[in-house]
Symmetry: C2
Subunit: 260 residues, 2 copies
Amino acid sequence: MIGIFDSGIGGMTVARAVEQLLPDHSILYLGDIARTPYGTKSAETIIDYSLRNTEFLLQKGSNLIVIACNTASSVATERLRQEFNVPIIEVVTPAVQAVLARSRTGRVGIIGTRATVRSNIYERSITALDPQFKVFSLACPLLVPLVEEGWINKRETKMILRRYLHPLKDKQIDTLVLGCTHYPLLTNLIQPRIGNRVNLVDSSIETAHYLQRFLADHPGIVRKNGDQPATRRYFVTDLTESAQQVAAKIFNRPLELELV
Amino acid sequence: MIGIFDSGIGGMTVARAVEQLLPDHSILYLGDIARTPYGTKSAETIIDYSLRNTEFLLQKGSNLIVIACNTASSVATERLRQEFNVPIIEVVTPAVQAVLARSRTGRVGIIGTRATVRSNIYERSITALDPQFKVFSLACPLLVPLVEEGWINKRETKMILRRYLHPLKDKQIDTLVLGCTHYPLLTNLIQPRIGNRVNLVDSSIETAHYLQRFLADHPGIVRKNGDQPATRRYFVTDLTESAQQVAAKIFNRPLELELV
């Protein structure tokens, strides 16, 4: 069973992509809505929460963990791999691989939460693989609350995006990483504001593809459900109306959220 | 010793007002930054966090608790009074008393978090005391992240405020309650947008005055420090750079935050 956790509901963009690519696999999701958001908090606190989330998913029978949160991926992956003896997939590596495969100029932008940008993980990972790359990172802390409020097509959201993206405009990037699993919901607003020729890398979709290849390379770690239909369960640490609304928007269907 | 807690740093507007009005009293503050914000979360989760915060402040020697958070005041006061045998002061009652004293038309607006507005506590408390009052409540969930980001004078914040306040404009209110301890930082933006004739009630200042009267009426519950200088300690459950910046802005001095 594939266990996926996130600070809240943003990671459901990863779960949705996994559902579509791997329809025969069972999924267990945990959204830590009671402590959301992670991106404004300290590394120590984020690691503590990530340990607890992973323990929950393992107790419920997961054989593999996907950290569907760029913030937790950035600061907690190493610690989770030390503590737990199952494969830990995170969202940064898949996005970094996509950047290296697709960028032609080697000039790349990263947008994410404050904690993700402060960790500098994208720049370190990209330049470790190719020192020629120039990486420009930018924290956009208000985008998570705007998405969680459902303000996806509001004029204020467009203005805030324009203000955030402005420092990237003259950097001549050809690739921009959506380094937060909430941001794919803003793709239609980000693309025209950063320029139509800039290639957007969606860490959610890249992670689902990465997971698909990983499972193909490591058969036996996570079993398909065979003749049984795949189960999907979505747990949350707090149950709120707006979480239910955003979840339904992400999956384009009503989703039953189960309170832990 | 006066114990004060909040979901994060907004409650420091209450602590600041208490420092100014009651300079001889020692203050212990706890900001639950690791779990902030409360206003988007469920009542059960907010009660759970409020119990833990109160326990911490009592263990550290508080003789009286101030809930410096409208959200926690709205949903957790009753439970804290059942559990703990010390006076529990909250921020709703002082604001309600100010409304009844100052409103001449009896048409009153309330702005607050989603949880505060959902609890309906202001409307219930005001109309219980005077059924003639008309109360119009409005959730403004993005104001807390905007304040915590320090976007206090940005154009986007002004636009979002205008959008939020719009439904109140034709209600002919003469009084507006800032029903969240973050909002006093936005007074200068709110006043012109709601109209200069509308009287703003700041729950932080009202609570400090209420506490002053309470202590005068109940001498002996909380002792003054006598010849000792009053101590002030500011604890947080997570330590972040932006929390330190906003805290310094609220107190107009650098503030030493202690990690719990």
